[in-house]
Structure formats: C-alpha cells, structure tokens
Subunit: 457 residues, 2 copies
C-alpha cells in the first residue's frame, strides 16, 4: 500500500530527520531582537534550500522585516497551503537553561527521548513534521500527493508586522483549498486535536511618564506623582472582583459556547486539576462561573506580560522614576473587534491619568479570533486519519493561544485552516529548556503522511 511504504520510510529515516531539525535549531533566529536579523535570514535560506532538495520550487521572499519562505510542489490533487514559522522566542533568562538553547541535543526524559533547545517545539520541530512527511512521500513515490504551497514566516514571535501586506500582495499564489498549520498541541497524551476555535490577540505596550527625570524619593516623594503608582492603578482596574475584564465594550461580540460544543468539551475528560497542578497552581483564576477549559478556549482575557520601572537591581535605590511601562495583551474570541478593543483600552488608560502624567501606547499586533467551518469534509477526513495514528480518537478542540495567521487566511484569502500539532503542555515553549518529544516529532510526521493521503483520496 502506498501509505504504508511512506510510513515505513518515515520510521527508517527518523535519525536523519532529527539531524535536519537540529541543524535548523542551531540557527538562533530570534525575530524580536534586531541583532539576530542575519540569523533569521540564514534560517530562511536553510529552509528554502531544504525544500529545493525535495523538489520544491522554493525561495526566501524579502519583506520590510524578516523574509518569508515560499515553496511550491506537486501537480495534481487538492491545493494545500502549509504554514509554519522559523523564528523563535528570546532565550532569557539564560541562566535557567541547563544547556545552550542553540546547541540542541536529544535527551532522555521520564516520558522518553526529547529534543531539547529553543524552537524544538515552537515551531521548528512542528514545522519540520510536515516537511519530513513530504520528503518521505517524494522519496517513495517520486511525487507529492497534492499541490502543496509551503509558506514559512519569520516574524510570528514578534507580532508578524509583514504578514498582512505579504498575504495581500501574494494572494493569488497563497490561496489554496485549505490551509494546514502546525503550531498547536495534542489535546492530551495520546489524543490529537484539530483546533477549530482560536483566540485573537491585541498586544499593547503602555508607558506612563511623570517627572521629567528620575527623582530622589526623599526629596520629591509625596509631592511628585510616581508613574509606577499610576500604571499599577490602571492594571489593577483592568479586572473586576469576578475576574471579568473591565475595558468598556470588551465583551461585545463574545458568544456563549454553543450547547453542542459545550457537550463535546465536557466529554473530553479535561482534568483541570492536573492542568493547573502541573504548573504549581490549584485554583482557576479567571472569570467566576466559567470552567478552566472555557477560560482558555472560549473566553477572552487580559494579561500583563511584563512590567518595568525604577530601580530593579540588587539592593535598594530611593528613586522616584520618571517612567514606568507594561506590556499588556488581550486574547479575543468570537466577533470581538481588535481595533475597537485597543481604542477602548487606550481611552480607559488615558481617563485614569492624573495631572502631570502622560501616556504613550505602542501596538504589538491586533488579530481577530478565528472559527473554522468544520462542515468542510476535509476536517472529518483529517480527524479520521489522525485517529488511525494515535491511541485515542482525534477531537475538534479550542485553543487558548492565538495564531493570528489563521484569522488572516480567512479574512484575506477566504480560506479555512486546519490547525493540527503535536506539542505537549510541558514543552516549555517561550520558557527555558524548551523541548519536543521525539515521539511527537515521529508520530507527527506519520500523522501528516496519513492526512495527505486522506485529503488526496
């Protein structure tokens, strides 16, 4: 059988596939840090070259930021767009890593072998599962089972500033029957999921300025307004006592979960205690009256991702700082309007400014939530294919994370996305000691081979 031969080839080639992934992980393609611009370009070159090696017509495409990689292959069958990103998160605090994040290696862990290093899971390892599936198919059959456009971004971890213009300018090349995205996780050990609801994201950096320069808190304390106090008041006002976000109009366009989906989610046996317990918590902290699964899959949120101001070094310095900043993000669902929420947040913060303080805002991305039309038979085909590979049947699930590209594919290209990924909750993406289970990588490649066969049939 054609699929079996491909799966055997994947099993046999796994050591080389791991070597290729680790070669890509050696490139420190941190997109948010301008010092790594050349590394981002190098990662794009590496990928274009690797795609060419398996017969794709592939090249890095310049943007005002980091390059996109575009590759086309296959001549018959449905047209599939595969999306992944080759850029990675920063690695600080470096001292918490137990190895150099850009010198990856296979390590033994209690759950088996894992690839350790920045990008192992998010998203180099996941991206390569699809590339390797194509490579095996090509090796066995000499051709691909579908018309495949590869589309790799290098700015996913830094707000994707070039994405929308690039999609608009290359709509014809990128529009396919459906998009496949590999940047999500398994629903649970042994249970894959296809994400059909994705939260949107609005990122805001807010800087409060008070005095014209840092002051001595003994000389001025009490008389001069402290911008940290102002910022703390704004942050403290963002949630009410029931954990609801207070930004005016925030819940406009937030739907209640359809009963059918609610029932399906209840049947998933999600263990909220284990989910929180794994990270040292025991109480869901969000909206009163919502389950943790609702909170992360179907409810909007507001989080503070970073704060700074004044003296934060060792010891004590009695400074009354001129400035304080926070990075705040909103996760959106349903039909919440990212730009309306940004404006409402800014108006709320401005209204809380005392005399003598000014505020500056800097936006970091604004994408709506995405909801896929699972009536498209491709979803059921993929679900069946996944279920054949894994111990438990695959589920249609939500995702707490935001993969803005899915919203943009829908909006700009009129194309739904199937989000299928093999990451684990303990992969420590965005954290020190990121890893990707070798089993995720191996079964991920096999999963894509099965899905390709199913979609091509």
């Amino acid at each position: 059988m054609t699929l079996d031969a491909v799966l055997s080839r994947i099993d046999a080639d796994l050591p080389h596939a791991l070597d290729r992934l680790m070669a890509l992980m050696h490139i420190p393609s941190i997109s948010t840090d301008p010092a790594h611009a050349a590394d981002c370009a190098a990662a794009a070159d590496w990928l274009a070259e690797d795609l060419r090696a398996i017969g794709f017509d592939a090249r890095p495409c310049p943007t005002p930021g980091h390059p996109m990689v575009l590759g086309t292959g296959g001549e018959t069958g449905p047209h599939l767009l595969f999306y992944g990103h080759y850029d990675v998160q920063p690695v600080d605090p470096l001292e918490l890593w137990h190895r150099n994040p850009f010198e990856p290696a296979i390590e033994e862990t209690p759950r088996g072998r894992a690839i350790r290093g920045r990008g192992a899971s998010d998203d180099k390892g996941q991206l390569m599962t699809f590339v390797e599936a194509c490579r095996a198919w090509k090796a066995v059959h000499g051709s691909l089972p579908a018309r495949i456009t590869m589309f790799f971004e290098g700015e996913e971890e830094s707000g994707s500033p070039s994405l929308v213009p690039f999609l608009e300018q290359n709509a014809d090349a990128l529009k396919a029957d459906i998009a496949l995205i590999c940047d999500t996780g398994l629903f649970a050990e042994g249970t894959p999921g296809i994400v059909t609801m994705l939260r949107g994201l609005v990122g805001e950096e807010v800087t409060i300025t008070g005095p014209a320069k840092d002051l001595h808190s003994g000389m001025y304390g009490g008389a001069a307004m402290n911008p940290i106090r102002v910022l703390a008041r704004i942050i403290a006002a963002l949630h009410d006592a029931d954990g609801r976000v207070t930004v005016p109009g925030f819940y406009d366009g937030v739907p209640e979960l359809p009963e059918e989906l609610a029932r399906q989610w209840q049947g998933l046996g999600f263990d909220a205690g284990a989910f929180l317990g794994e990270v040292g918590l025991s109480h869901p902290a969000g909206e009163k009256g919502r389950t943790p699964l609702e909170m992360i899959w179907s409810r909007p949120t507001c989080e503070v991702n970073g704060i700074s101001g004044g003296y934060a070094g060792a010891g004590f310095k009695t400074v009354l700082p001129a400035r304080a900043s926070a990075k705040i993000s909103f996760r959106l669902v349903g039909h919440q309007d990212p730009l309306a929420i940004r404006e409402s947040f800014r108006a709320m913060a401005r209204a809380m400014l005392p005399p003598d303080c000014t505020v500056e805002f800097h936006g970091h991305g604004a994408s709506p939530a995405a909801q896929m039309s699972i009536a498209d038979p491709a979803f059921e085909k993929a679900r069946t294919a996944l279920s054949a590979e894994w111990p438990n049947p695959a589920a249609f699930i939500g995702s707490g994370g935001s993969i803005p590209v899915a919203g943009h594919f829908k909006e700009i290209l009129g194309m739904d996305s199937m989000l299928i990924g093999f990451a684990h909750a303990d992969d420590a993406i965005h954290s020190p000691n990121e890893k990707y289970d070798v089993a995720s990588f191996h079964k991920g490649i096999r999963s894509w081979a099965r899905i390709l066969a199913a979609l091509a049939a």
Copy 2:
C-alpha cells in the same frame, strides 16, 4: 577679634583647602561595590592622616565592612560630635559624565566656580568644610574652641550595616553634648537651614510568586493567576483617592505640624510651582489639603522605587510570568514606628493574596524619623552664627530625605543632631556630573568657624 582672624585664615587658605578636597575625591571610595573596598580603606587612611596633621588623635577603626574614622581633639568647651561620610555613590552611567568622576577639577559654571566630580557635594566636600574650619582655628589659635570628636563613616551609601553595632560598642567615646552633621543642603540660594525634622525610612522588597514557572499567556491566560496583576492590586491599594496611605495604623504617631513651625514655614517663601516645575510637573501629587512643603518635610509617604516582572525587553513576549517584584519605601515622621509599619504593610499584602500566590518580603533598612529639641540653646546660637555669614537669615527646616544616623544618635546615644549643610538642589548628588559650588565650600567652612565660636562662647 579671634573669629575674624580665623575667617581671614580660611579666606587665605582656600586654594589649599580645595587641593586637599580634590586629593580626597581622587580616591574612588564607592562603598556598595566590593571591588572598591581598598579605596574605601585608602579614603579612611587619608582622613585619619589629615586629622592627625591638625592635632587630632585619629585612626581608622575596622568594622565588618568599611572602616570608621575616629578622631578626638580639643580640651575645653562643649563636647561636639561631627559626623560625615567618606564613601560615595557609584558613577554609572559613566557615559553621561563630561569628565572622569574621580579626576575632579574646578569648572566655571553660570553661577560661578564649582568643584566637579563624584563626592564633591555628597559628602566629601561637605565633610571637609568642618575639617577645614578646625584646621583654620588650630592654625590661628594653636588649639580648638571645643572638645571635638570626628566620626566619619564609609558605608552611608550602602545601607550603613556597621553603624548601629559601632555606635553601641563605642557609645562612651561617641556620646557628646550635641552632634553636628553636614550632609544636607541650603534652604535656598543665600538662605542656610538647620534641619530639625528628618523623615525616617522603611524599605521593603516584595516578591509575588504565582505559577511554578513562566507560562505562555495563550495557554494559561485567564486560568492561571498572574503575579503582576496581584502586585499591581497591592500597589494600587496603598493610597486612597485623597493620596493618603492606606496601610492600617500608618498614621499612628504622625503629629500635626505645630502652629509656630507652620507659620515659620509659610514665611519661607517656598515656591512650590518652581520646585515642581524644575522637574516638569505642575500639580502636587500627595495628600489632599497639604502643601508641597508639608508633603516633603512633615508628612509620611509611600513610594514605589522599582517594579519588575515578565518580559521587559524590546518587542513583545506573551509570557505569564511566575514572579513579579517591587521595591517600596515608606518615609516616616513623628513617632511612627518603622517595625510596626513594616509588619502592617506585610499583613496588608498577605491579606490581598489570591489563592495559589505566595509573597516574600525582604527588608532594606528601618529607621524612625528624628525631631530635634530646638529648645536647646545650641540651635539658636547656630542659627544666629549662620545668619551672620549668609545674605539671608537661617531657618529651621524639615527635610524630605532620611539621614538615619541622626535617628540612631538620638536612640542609641540620647543625643540631638544639628544638620547643617551647604549643598544646592542642582548639585546632582547620586547622578552624573556631581558638583559642589566653591562658594558653598568656602562659606561652609566660614559658617562652621562661626558656629564653633558661638557654641564655645
């Protein structure tokens, strides 16, 4: 007249006095940096040697930290303890200095000549005003007009860890009729002040921990408690809408300003608009119904000196951090109890912790406010002596800053302090390009000679 001869001698010797000060300033005695321990010892040796040159029995006294310098001189008259500190603040950011901070020089400025370099004002220049007054007196009369104990500390800029034990172990040697401290400023150009009220200081570092590790705000946002939110709520709760501090019991022991002092302060012509305008502000931010002068001299405060948590670098990182910290300081007045306020603040913060969060506190100093008994005739004598030297009469003033040694002198040695200094608000102490006006130095030395004459009379 004896005083006139001393003043003439001071005028004639000014160039040499400046040379001596600059020799001391060449020694980079940064007490907070262990790399400069030998420099601190060298500054102590230099001072002991200089005191011996004018007839004091003087020596550096070892402590677990940097040495103290003790010197005794004079055989008759009142017993005066003079306190100053020879250590200085770090010099970073070095690139903002327009000369090497430890290669001082006399520079021309719009207001006349100034000594530029680290420690020029805080506190080497101020300390030497008193030493030079003694030198001139000794040169003219062959003896000192009072029994004088010199006491120089080398850890004032790094929390004075050895001060209290040293005072306790050397109480007999140090207890005098009154202490003289030269580490404060003129009230205004041409108007000297004697500080009779000093705020105390409690420093607290508070760290909130939520999840066991940094999380992805998409995966966990909404369900996991964010420690920045908790910290912001605590900080926002520290003041009420009228700018009063809400820590329970905070105002216990805070006296209303005596009517007489209030009247005197009103007469000082303090220009609140100019005071705030100089740092780009126009509205006093403290307690409603208090003037800015009250706020900084006679009212207690709570300020946040620093805050940190999550990702604060360039760009955006959707992290839900495990930890957030703030450095918070309380300035105290009257009989506020530093330890009671520390405990009350800690209890308040603990009570605001949601489930799953923990808090750690780290104390950075706790000193009570100091209020001098100005009924002691020494205060009026010194005020008259100062008024003779300067264009405008001297005033009894408050100080927003905290000079903990004055509180310790009162508590441990039962001794009041007269805080007299000649610094200007624009001396840039703790900042790049610190300076001390040559006029402050010259008239400072003359002021001390006059005060010595008055106290000895």
